[in-house]
């Protein structure tokens, strides 16, 4: 009998990693992905624009939230609160302005008209930083301790783009709020 092919104990053809390792990795990945999706779906709104934050101030109360707006150039004042560096400025978005006191050093690219995203909370009193007179001046300020810069998708060099200077001079690229002398 030459056609004997009775099944016998299988012999591994090639060595393979233990399947459970890969399955554990796959399971961990599933859990991580699910957690991230839940975080995205159920997480609170990432940031309030300045106009939304002012409008919903009573609902927000004193809880921490994230605020977005464009710093108004002439309002920026750097100073100290005790030994701690602070930067006070007003920002605007959607026609509303907010006075801000940021505790700590400002972001590297912090500058007028480049939107910032700040973590902090409303404080029901005017900002007290020497030399700073807020533009909002509504008896409130936003006390921030984390600053990120939200730059735009313009990748230009002002040395080579005269039109940007022209636009800037014309006020097309700046906020509508005008600082008093």
């Amino acid at each position: 009998m030459t056609g004997e092919l009775t099944p016998r104990a299988p012999r591994p053809l090639r060595s393979r990693k233990a399947p459970w390792v890969a399955l554990v990795i796959a399971l961990a990945v599933v859990v991580a992905v699910a957690a991230l999706i839940v975080n995205l779906v159920e997480g609170s709104l990432y940031f309030y624009n300045a106009d939304e934050a002012v409008e919903e101030r009573s609902d927000i109360g004193d809880r921490r939230f994230t605020l977005q707006g464009s710093p108004i150039g002439c309002s920026i004042v750097e100073g100290f609160s005790g030994d701690e560096p602070v930067v006070a400025f007003s920002l605007s978005f959607g026609g509303a302005s907010v006075d801000v006191v940021h505790h700590g050093d400002p972001a590297e690219l912090f500058q007028a008209d480049v939107p910032v995203v700040l973590d902090g909370a409303w404080v029901a009193q005017p900002p007290v930083v020497e030399g700073f007179t807020g533009i909002a001046n509504d008896g409130w300020h936003f006390s921030s301790d984390r600053m990120r810069v939200k730059h735009d998708n313009d990748y230009i060099n002002d040395d080579e783009y005269d039109e940007r200077l022209t636009l800037s001079d014309a006020g097309a690229d700046s906020t509508e709020v005008v600082c008093e002398a």
Partner: protein, 250 residues
């Protein structure tokens, strides 16, 4: 087996490889010495020449994986299954590179390496983890066809994430630090745009080069499995013949 039989290179891949190397050199020269700095970001803007082409690489890799996965599910073609697998592996590299370069770029510009609230960052991380899961599933072993089917489903689920990543800056404008599309809505200087174009072409060539090599490796592995099976059958038949002749002689 001769050395030539296991070589995944060819004249085409060698030309492609040379073009990639020349392209990378051109990209470095243009990126560092040609394109001007940005008036806000200064030199940090040069990261765009790696970051954005890497993101495009993800799109290309995931589109290829999606097509390969659909074709496997539809035609049960091993060729397409290997295409999907190869592309997913390269997609992991592009995805990792995009996350890394984005993080490095984010520190001087956004003032943070990472932000969990940012929808584009988190969806890209989800894609990266899904691709890692895809590859883990691939290496789990078991029945080859069942594994290919499971991987195809995961590959398609991962591919669904790509348009979400791409459109996230439009759909959730209040949930991202990311700027809107640089190519379609942005304002780029001529040399910046040209350098970016060079970067995209170089990454595309790299993708094709890596795909050809990885596919050939996958195909060789597939052939090797067939050879292993045939060899095992021949050996078993020979053993069985020896056993039966021994019994007859007794």
């Amino acid at each position: 087996m001769s050395a030539d039989a296991v070589n995944t290179g060819s004249r085409t891949t060698r030309l492609l490889g040379a073009a990639v190397l020349i392209g990378v050199l051109a990209l470095i020269l243009l990126g560092f010495f040609g394109a001007p700095e940005d008036d806000e970001q200064r030199d940090a803007v040069r990261m765009i020449f790696v970051h954005l082409p890497s993101a495009f690489g993800i799109y290309a890799a995931m589109a290829t994986t999606a097509v390969g996965s659909v074709m496997w599910l539809w035609k049960r073609s091993r060729w397409w299954d290997i295409v999907a697998h190869s592309s997913a592996e390269i997609g992991v590299i592009f995805c990792g590179l995009t996350l890394f370069t984005g993080s490095v770029w984010g520190r001087p510009t956004w003032n943070t390496y990472w932000d969990w609230g940012d929808v584009r960052l988190v969806t890209t991380l989800i894609l990266f983890l899904m691709l890692v899961g895809y590859l883990a599933l691939r290496s789990a072993g078991g029945d080859e066809n069942a594994m290919a089917t499971r991987a195809a489903v995961v590959g398609l689920l991962a591919a669904v994430n790509v348009p979400i990543i791409n459109r996230s800056v439009e759909w959730w404008s209040n949930r991202t630090l990311h700027q809107k599309s640089s190519l379609t809505d942005g304002n780029l200087e001529d040399l910046t745009l040209f350098t970016l174009f060079v970067g995209i072409v170089v990454w595309a060539l790299f993708f094709v080069w890596a795909m050809i090599h990885r596919f050939r490796i996958g195909w060789l592995e597939h052939q090797l499995r067939d050879i292993d099976l045939e060899t095992a059958l021949i050996q078993r038949r020979a053993e069985a013949a020896t056993e039966s002749s021994g019994e007859e002689s007794r």
